[in-house]
């Protein structure tokens, strides 16, 4: 029996807005969550970082909501709010006491429909500064802070939409204009390019009426233009590509990435399971062998990114101890990756069981439920996929994992980025 059985219902307004309602009346908390089908992959040359800057502008007010009022109103009721930008999408979310759902719907609908009248050059200048500070603080002033920029250039060809980072370049951020804000809004921030999920303490029928009231008269936009560049990719990189960086970093770090099937592929689940065997938990192969037994790595990290465009990416990294020889660390990682070809069923079972706990614990929060439902509806037209997540992973066989190692994690499909401390440091 599956523990995942989150009830939900699905609707679509006449203007194309998808709506998911997931009631849970146990505690008086409700989450409103919007996913827009736009991210850094939609940015054209010279406009990198704009999707993220635009996300900031969405908090600068709309026709009926002055600057800062959105934050003031939500904080006043004890709510939380934020937004994030990613390669394939941008999401916005509020969690509020359930008697304040209408407030969240009003705020979200006002900026979906009537953002542009509130835009000014002063607000754009201000948020450009904020975003440039964000970039310096989180990337430029950080050891290893340029790793994703370097890795994406290794992994993706010149004309691919994942070639550039979400934060973008300083020059492009500086060059952005109010006209850009206007055309981006009209192109992408349209109801037919969004999913609204409401999860938690809500009466679905009443909520649907409110949603129609607030969002129903927003005009739909034109169909979303095709992605810039060439999103299609060969399944494999074709060789081992690498970059060696000597920089002011504290410890040697070896980052290894592999091209894997996109999130939309049924084979993506195989990559997820393989990634869990390598790096999930303290009984994972990387932790057990590299950190605990051989002590060549101080820490290990594994990510399997759920990317939609052409191909996705699996990434492992290991950070060495002072004096670490990067060649030895890389060889040790390669050994463990190759050895995964003898994966055992007990390891798969462990990974699935651990994933089950993590998933169920995540679903304790209505915000998390809403975010996942929005994602599954935006990406796959199928919010019900949430309740089948474990089945999807359980269906992965030992043989699939073993052949994945040979097919996807071999030397003809690796991007390797090595950071080494400068001599004398």
């Amino acid at each position: 029996m599956s523990l995942l059985s989150i009830p939900f219902e699905r609707h679509r307004l006449d203007n194309g807005l998808k709506v998911v309602l997931a009631p849970d009346r146990t505690i008086p908390v409700v989450a409103a969550n919007l996913w827009y089908g736009v991210g850094s992959r939609n940015e054209v040359a010279g406009k990198t970082g704009f999707a993220h800057l635009f996300e900031h502008m969405m908090f600068q007010g709309s026709a009926h909501v002055p600057k800062n009022r959105h934050f003031e109103l939500i904080e006043r009721v004890g709510g939380t709010l934020n937004a994030t930008t990613w390669f394939d999408r941008t999401n916005y979310f509020e969690t509020v006491p359930s008697n304040e759902l209408e407030l969240a719907l009003w705020l979200e609908s006002d900026r979906m429909g009537w953002m542009l009248p509130a835009m000014t050059q002063e607000k754009l200048d201000n948020q450009r500064d904020v975003v440039k500070n964000e970039k310096r603080q989180r990337y430029d002033n950080q050891p290893y802070g340029d790793w994703d920029e370097r890795l994406q250039k290794l992994m993706y060809p010149e004309d691919h939409p994942y070639r550039h980072t979400v934060i973008g370049s300083m020059d492009d951020i500086d060059a952005s204009t109010l006209d850009d804000v206007g055309s981006f809004f009209k192109t992408f921030y349209v109801p037919n390019n969004a999913v609204l999920t409401v999860a938690g303490d809500v009466d679905p029928a009443a909520a649907l009426e409110q949603i129609k009231r607030y969002f129903g008269d927003i005009e739909p936009g034109a169909p979303i233009p095709p992605l810039p560049g060439n999103p299609s990719l060969d399944p494999l990189i074709g060789s081992t590509v690498r970059e060696h960086v000597v920089a002011d970093v504290p410890l040697t770090r070896v980052i290894m990435a592999f091209r894997i099937p996109p999130y939309s592929s049924p084979d993506f689940a195989v990559a997820e399971v393989a990634g869990s065997l390598l790096g999930m938990g303290r009984a994972s192969r990387f932790y057990k062998r590299l950190v605990r037994e051989r002590r060549v790595a101080k820490s290990v990290v594994t990510y399997v990114f759920p990317l939609m465009t052409g191909a996705s990416m699996m990434l492992v990294w290991a950070t060495g101890y002072p004096g670490c020889d990067p060649t030895e660390l890389e060889a040790a990682m390669s050994e463990e990756i190759d050895a995964l070809a003898d994966a055992q069923q007990s390891e798969l079972d462990r990974a699935i069981t651990l994933t089950e706990t993590d998933l169920v614990r995540g679903l304790e929060r209505v915000a998390e439920r809403a975010d996942l439902l929005s994602m599954f509806d935006l990406y796959f037209d199928d919010p019900g996929r949430l309740n089948r997540e474990l089945d999807r992973l359980r269906a992965v066989s030992l043989e699939q994992v073993r052949s994945f190692v040979g097919e996807r994690l071999a030397v003809d499909n690796r991007a390797i980025l090595v950071y080494e401390p400068e001599a004398g440091r």
């Binding site: 004890g78 969690t95 006491p97 009003w106 950070t319």
Partner: protein, 454 residues
């Protein structure tokens, strides 16, 4: 459908009240404070085992010992190697993590309810029979040392580690990073860890806090089964100082050549968890820098664009922890940002907040409290605070009322006492060649520039 007037802010309906989950309490014969909060939204459980004492009782060569002992707890037991222990836990989907803190050590466990008994058995084995094998101790020690090295190269961590050395008098445990120094950690032995565990991982004065889909009698049975012979009391914590290093305002610049951003910390010794004006002071801090619409954030971020974000906080501990404003700003606006921080500190200390600001912060604090009772982990963490700081049993039942009762005058009084702009220590990590001269011109006090660690 009536036409919608979008210019009208919707008025929320009546709030649906929601009580803090009922907590059963038993103090066991061995002195362990058992608390069980029953929640049944999903079949999950979060558990914290808390034992005293912690890093605030450790000095000199022992600095960082509690953190290291907690990290090395996963090293195995008399019956299992570290890998076997990890496999046994993860096979049943249990997540365990141990953390050495100022007041004590917390061992957290989360799992599905149906696996709780098995998981508690493993947790008991790990805490009651740790073997601290030599190679696992060496691994934990090397990791902690490497972590110290990483933090020295990370400007935000470097600023956060440096600032308390300026706030607290030398010799106060709060002056140092919680996980000690390279010197103290490098010398730590297996015997020290074993000695620390046998003297401190004891039930009296500690707590076992369980929240989730489990009955109290089931938890009692698990404790009876798995913690049978556990007894003893840790030594009482010696009094220690959290005195200020100085009452003179000073500027301390850690020169990090080539920085494109300055990490700013402005603070001084704050207040203890037991401070009688805790609620008023918490509200004062929210207005100053504890929420997005705080004075500091609206000024430095939304008005001036100096930063991605700025916050202030009081670290309430058993003794007075730091009060601190923290942010990261561009080189060219570093002096302006420090100036604006001082403007806001002075205004808050001298005039206090307005009645509207206090109302907004009170509503925020009371409202978000209710929103943060969703998960077993959130509830377990709150109940653990009751044990750690010896707060009344009904503390969280009354929390929202107590916050709402705070008056503007009380908030102003708390701000005037606990926020002292004339005594702050300003700590900057950045390129001193660029930021030094304009900061000096602010005339805040003596400016000292030191090299960043290599």
């Amino acid at each position: 459908m009536s036409t919608l007037d979008r210019s009208k802010t919707p008025k929320g309906g009546p709030i649906r009240n929601f009580d803090f989950p009922a907590v059963d309490r038993r103090v066991l014969k061995n002195g362990l404070d058992l608390r069980v909060a029953h929640m049944n939204r999903l079949p999950v459980v979060s558990l914290n085992l808390f034992v005293r004492s912690g890093e605030s009782a450790l000095y000199g060569k022992n600095a960082g010992l509690a953190v290291l002992a907690a990290d090395a707890l996963e090293g195995g037991t008399a019956r299992r190697t570290g890998s076997e222990l990890a496999e046994a836990l993860e096979r049943i989907g249990a997540r365990v993590s141990a953390t050495g803190g100022w007041e004590g050590t917390s061992i957290g466990l989360s799992c599905l309810a149906e696996r709780l008994d098995e998981a508690v058995g493993l947790l008991a084995e790990a805490v009651l029979e740790p073997s601290f094998p030599e190679e696992e101790v060496a691994r934990a020690r090397d990791q902690q040392l490497a972590g110290i090295r990483q933090r020295a190269k990370d400007p935000a961590s470097l600023a956060s580690d440096t600032a308390p050395t300026r706030y607290f008098t030398e010799g106060s445990p709060y002056a140092r990073p919680i996980d000690g120094s390279a010197e103290s950690i490098a010398e730590m032995s297996r015997d020290q860890l074993r000695g620390y565990a046998s003297a401190n991982f004891l039930p009296a004065g500690g707590g076992l806090i369980v929240a989730g889909d489990v009955e109290t009698r089931e938890v009692e049975q698990m404790v009876a089964d798995h913690f049978t012979s556990w007894s003893g009391a840790p030594a009482s914590i010696p009094d220690f100082s959290s005195e200020a290093a100085t009452r003179e305002r000073r500027v301390y610049v850690v020169h990090r050549p080539g920085s494109v951003q300055t990490e700013i910390r402005v603070g001084h010794v704050g207040a203890a968890r037991s401070t009688p004006d805790y609620y008023a002071l918490s509200v004062a801090n929210m207005v100053l820098g504890g929420m997005f619409t705080s004075r500091l954030n609206l000024n430095l971020r939304e008005k001036n664009g100096f930063t991605y974000g700025v916050r202030s906080r009081f670290s309430f501990r058993s003794e007075a922890g730091p009060f601190e404003v923290s942010t990261s700003v561009g080189n060219d606006v570093t002096a302006s940002a420090v100036r604006e921080i001082m403007v806001e500190l002075k205004a808050m200390a001298a005039q206090g907040p307005t009645a509207d600001e206090v109302a907004a912060a009170r509503d925020y604090a009371a409202g978000i409290f209710g929103l943060q009772l969703e998960t077993a982990g959130q509830v377990a963490a709150r109940v653990t605070q009751l044990v750690v700081y010896g707060l009344p049993e009904r503390y969280f039942d009354d929390y929202r009322d107590n916050v709402r009762d705070v008056t503007t005058e009380e908030v102003a009084a708390a701000a005037a006492i606990h926020i002292r702009p004339d005594e702050v220590q300003v700590v900057l990590v950045g390129d001193a060649d660029v930021i030094g001269p304009p900061v000096e011109e602010l005339g805040l006090g003596p400016v000292e520039v030191v090299a960043s660690p290599s």
